[in-house]
């Protein structure tokens, strides 16, 4: 090949680079290693992490069983090693699965349209807020303190440089639901979005309907956030929301130390042209057969450049496919049953503790630790190979004596009993 190119060695390929930019010494990286050594290296790293622990952590990342079919499907090279489906004629596989994904997200959320995925739930929130700003022509967002703290931090990072003011409103000390009076006080006619999570960060089914009414009265949009998608197997879809921004990690996506996950944005049909992210639409080919393709691309960066609705390009397609297979496997009955098991487990655990808030909860709840030192309780639990709940002091100083506990279908009764015992109940 070098001969065909008329060059006498690899260096000739780079001869045109200015002398001062070329590396003078080789990369300071060890020589390559074999497949066995790679596996061995990562096995050792994996062994340095928690292994064989029961965990009661939730807080946006949930331990749910991953049906075997999920990895079987996403490991197929045709899904794993294909690019974004710009060439529709040879991408009908991924386009069809995205169309099914969009459909199922609409069925779950009660929305009319859903996009093909966002990076995760946390980045879906600022994207939803910016969308609300474009739709209303306003530049202020009111976000509940019971929205995931790291989602709120992400929102602030995005909003700061867009001239968007972000203010927070509180939660009720007894119920753990949003403080509607505080929201009402802070509402004004410049507010584009009211952002509420349900189940909220404390696991509590929040006052979505009331928040929606309050937002709509002042011409703002309601952005509904969810982090625990399994709850949608039982919970009423958020009909009052104008935009739903959610995280699908619960749908067979491994916790993987925080990513890759898959976020979604779903909305009303009339708002579709202000949506961020890719959309797949149905059409026909020249033979009149049903076909799918990426559509409404005039919203997107590769067409609209600085006037695009978002800069997102690469999304989380393969992760969204995990969620698609999960939804297919569980289906209509299974998702409800899975949600019911989560509800039962969490209520069993809570029944023996004293939940701090009186609000109705799904599979997470806040509990005070006897003696008020969550870290000490968790240290004791670690000795029994149990990772306890998340100490809340780092996010909510007023809840420094409490933990956020999550139970799922994978939580065993004897481990829950051990947690109860350690918490001094």
């Amino acid at each position: 090949m070098m001969d065909a190119c008329g060059i006498d060695g690899p260096d000739a390929l780079f001869a045109h680079l200015p002398e001062e930019v070329r590396m003078r010494k080789p990369l300071d990286l060890a020589p390559g290693i074999s497949e066995y050594e790679i596996v061995d290296y990562f096995r050792r790293r994996a062994a340095e992490n928690a292994n064989g622990y029961a965990s009661f952590l939730g807080a946006g990342v949930y331990n749910h069983f991953r049906p075997v079919l999920v990895d079987t499907v996403v490991s197929r090279g045709e899904f794993l090693t294909s690019y974004t489906p710009y060439q529709a004629e040879i991408s009908q596989g991924v386009l069809t699965t995205i169309f099914e994904f969009q459909t199922m997200i609409c069925q779950l959320t009660g929305m009319d349209v859903a996009n093909a995925s966002m990076y995760d739930g946390s980045t879906a929130v600022p994207e939803a807020a910016m969308m609300a700003a474009r739709l209303t022509g306003r530049r202020r967002a009111l976000v509940a303190r019971s929205v995931h703290p790291e989602y709120r931090e992400t929102l602030r990072t995005y909003a700061r440089h867009q001239g968007m003011a972000v203010e927070e409103f509180g939660y009720l000390e007894d119920a753990g639901t949003i403080d509607l009076e505080d929201l009402d006080r802070k509402m004004d006619d410049a507010t584009a979005a009211v952002i509420v999570q349900s189940p909220n960060f404390f696991g509590i089914v929040d006052q979505v309907k009331a928040a929606g009414e309050m937002a709509h009265r002042r011409g703002a949009l309601l952005v509904l956030v969810f982090t625990e998608a399994v709850s949608l197997g039982l919970l009423r879809p958020p009909a009052e929301a104008d935009i739903v921004a959610g995280e699908l990690q619960s749908f067979a996506i491994p916790p993987s130390y925080g990513g890759p996950f898959a976020g979604i944005i779903a909305t009303r049909e009339r708002y579709v042209r202000q949506m961020p992210g890719r959309l797949v639409g149905q059409t026909v080919d020249t033979r009149g057969n049903r076909a799918f393709c990426l559509t409404l691309a005039t919203r997107e960066q590769h067409i609209r450049r600085e006037k695009a609705t978002s800069n997102i390009c690469t999304n989380q397609a393969l992760i969204a496919l995990m969620a698609t297979v999960f939804m297919t496997v569980y289906g209509k009955e299974g998702l409800r049953e899975l949600a019911a098991q989560n509800l039962a487990k969490a209520h069993y655990l809570a029944g023996q503790l004293k939940p701090r808030f009186s609000g109705k909860f799904f599979n997470e709840f806040v509990a005070r630790v006897d003696g008020g030192e969550p870290e000490a309780v968790n240290r004791a639990l670690l000795k029994q190979k149990i990772i306890g709940g998340l100490p809340l002091g780092r996010f909510y100083p007023e809840l420094a004596d409490s933990v956020l506990l999550c139970a799922t279908e994978m939580s065993r009764r004897e481990d829950m009993d051990a947690v109860v015992k350690a918490m001094g109940a």
Binding site: E306, Q316, V329, I387
Partner: protein, 492 residues
């Protein structure tokens, strides 16, 4: 005809919703070891939904067949060459998939104690160090989820540094050959965008830059090598012009596959850059993602990097949140960790010498394609190319055949198309990036297919214009899809 395809069975498959039957199930759950609770009581009757209308109901084997059949309707790297320019579609090593699924890594919860996360933190630290070495930069954040997210992070870092100096600027300069994400990012970061026309060689116009750069310019965003696959010869001079006026040089690392082991952005004046681990570092594209877009910076930007940062004390890793000057978080948790694992596996497999060899092969492959196809396709810019080569459809257009037609015809020969009509500065661009993955056999098959299509464009243009002919789906009506959007299935 020079093809690597022949006709084969392609099965029909209805949508999930159309092949559902009430009562079918693919799910299993263990028996409940705690008392069941009444949903209406626990959640409030008003909060409980009726059944999810039209949600699928299929058996396990039906679910498996459904997705397997659909998968066969896709082209993939595993089938053959995927010469999408600027996308770096290289082989995705399967060992990376195995290690990312190791239980201790895949099931690590982001809030589990740091003492039980040392393996994850070590993986991240090692990757940060390797990327810093490869780019010649001082510090790296792994948090951004994809290239465009990295761009946003990088531009926010530039803004933060400038503002810390009391220097608020309004504008980002972007060459007209840039990816669409660059201007979109600048706008989201609150900057105005000014486009700079490329010079006659398709390169950054340094004279124009000199004229334009003033105290209002925050940064120039440049891709190097640029989207023509050509190294920006005057990059050092451009950096000097910018720095003299207090502006920064941002590099889009989409084309880093041309530089690894050969040249380091940190050595030619770049202040901030992002990498695409799903391009240069072999993590799978998965039909559109996930990716990862780490950002590498010079020392001055380090205090502003997203929270948290890795910290090592007394032989243990921890996460440091106490950094007052940070731009904050750009997402929850620490990044697309599973993607980071795969990228580190790729770097370990290659090592320093292997990474450089990959770059050599990637560039050699692109130069070889250029040499072989130059007699048949118009080469609009004659500068030496690196990892990709961009032709124009000028000669074929004379017969009414455009780049999009050639691309569709390429499918009939068994290849995924190249990148079509980009960069915008080339009339009817054919942007071809072979990557180091392809050997001479596959490259020659591709080249012969391209030559054959060039001949067809002259002898039988209609054949090319109506391609593809051998796919299960023929040309798709994208206009109809956008005119009357059908974005979800509904019961008729």
């Amino acid at each position: 005809m020079i093809t690597k395809v022949r006709n084969h069975i392609s099965q029909n498959e209805a949508l999930l919703f159309e092949r559902s039957s009430p009562g079918k199930k693919a799910w299993q759950l263990p028996g409940l070891d705690v008392p069941p609770v009444e949903a209406a009581e626990a959640l409030g009757a008003e909060n409980v939904r009726p059944e999810i209308e039209d949600f699928p109901e299929v058996s396990e084997v039906e679910a498996l067949r459904h997705f397997t059949r659909l998968s066969t309707w896709n082209y993939a790297i595993d089938y053959g060459m995927y010469p999408l320019g600027s996308c770096t579609m290289k082989y995705n090593p399967r060992v990376n998939e195995v290690v990312a699924r190791l239980e201790g890594l895949a099931w690590a919860h982001p809030y589990q104690p740091e003492s039980l996360s040392q393996g994850c933190l070590e993986v991240m630290a090692r990757l940060e160090a390797a990327l810093a070495e490869i780019t010649g930069m001082d510090a790296v954040t792994l948090q951004p989820a994809a290239g465009a997210h990295g761009e946003l992070t990088g531009i926010l870092l530039i803004r933060a540094l400038l503002e810390s100096r009391g220097d608020s600027r309004k504008k980002i300069l972007i060459p007209d050959s840039a990816h669409g994400t660059n201007p979109a990012t600048a706008a989201i970061a609150g900057y105005a965008v000014e486009n700079i026309p490329s010079n006659a060689n398709g390169l950054l116009d340094v004279a124009a830059l000199e004229r334009i750069v003033d105290g209002g310019v925050a940064a120039l965003m440049v891709t190097n090598p640029n989207t023509l696959g050509v190294f920006e010869q005057n990059i050092v001079q451009a950096a000097e012009i910018l720095h003299a006026k207090g502006a920064m040089l941002y590099m889009d690392g989409a084309n880093m596959n041309a530089l690894v082991g050969i040249a380091r952005p940190g050595d030619f004046g770049v202040d901030v850059l992002h990498l695409n681990l799903h391009k240069t570092f072999s993590t799978p594209h998965g039909g559109g993602g996930p990716g990862a877009g780490p950002v590498a910076v010079k020392k001055a930007f380090e205090p502003f990097l997203p929270l948290p940062r890795l910290n090592r004390t007394r032989g243990k890793w921890s996460l440091n949140y106490r950094r007052k000057r940070s731009i904050g978080r750009v997402r929850a948790f620490y990044g697309n960790f599973g993607v980071l694992v795969r990228a580190l596996a790729y770097i370990l497999a290659h090592g320093g010498p292997g990474l450089r060899n990959a770059t050599v092969d990637a560039v050699l492959n692109a130069v070889y394609i250029r040499k072989r196809l130059e007699p048949f396709f118009e080469l609009p810019y004659r500068s030496p190319n690196m990892h990709e080569v961009v032709f124009s459809d000028l000669r074929q257009e004379a017969h009414g055949v455009r780049t999009g037609d050639i691309a569709k015809r390429l499918i009939d020969y068994g290849f995924h198309p190249y990148t079509v009509s980009f960069p915008l500065i080339v009339h009817g661009a054919l942007m071809i990036e072979p990557t180091e993955t392809e050997g001479k056999l596959e490259l020659d098959a591709f080249i012969e297919a391209m030559i054959s299509i060039a001949q067809e464009a002259e002898t039988d243009p209609q054949l090319v214009k109506s391609a593809p002919h051998h796919t299960r789906t023929s040309r798709v009506d994208e206009v109809a899809a956008a005119r009357k959007p059908v974005l979800r299935w509904k019961r008729a």
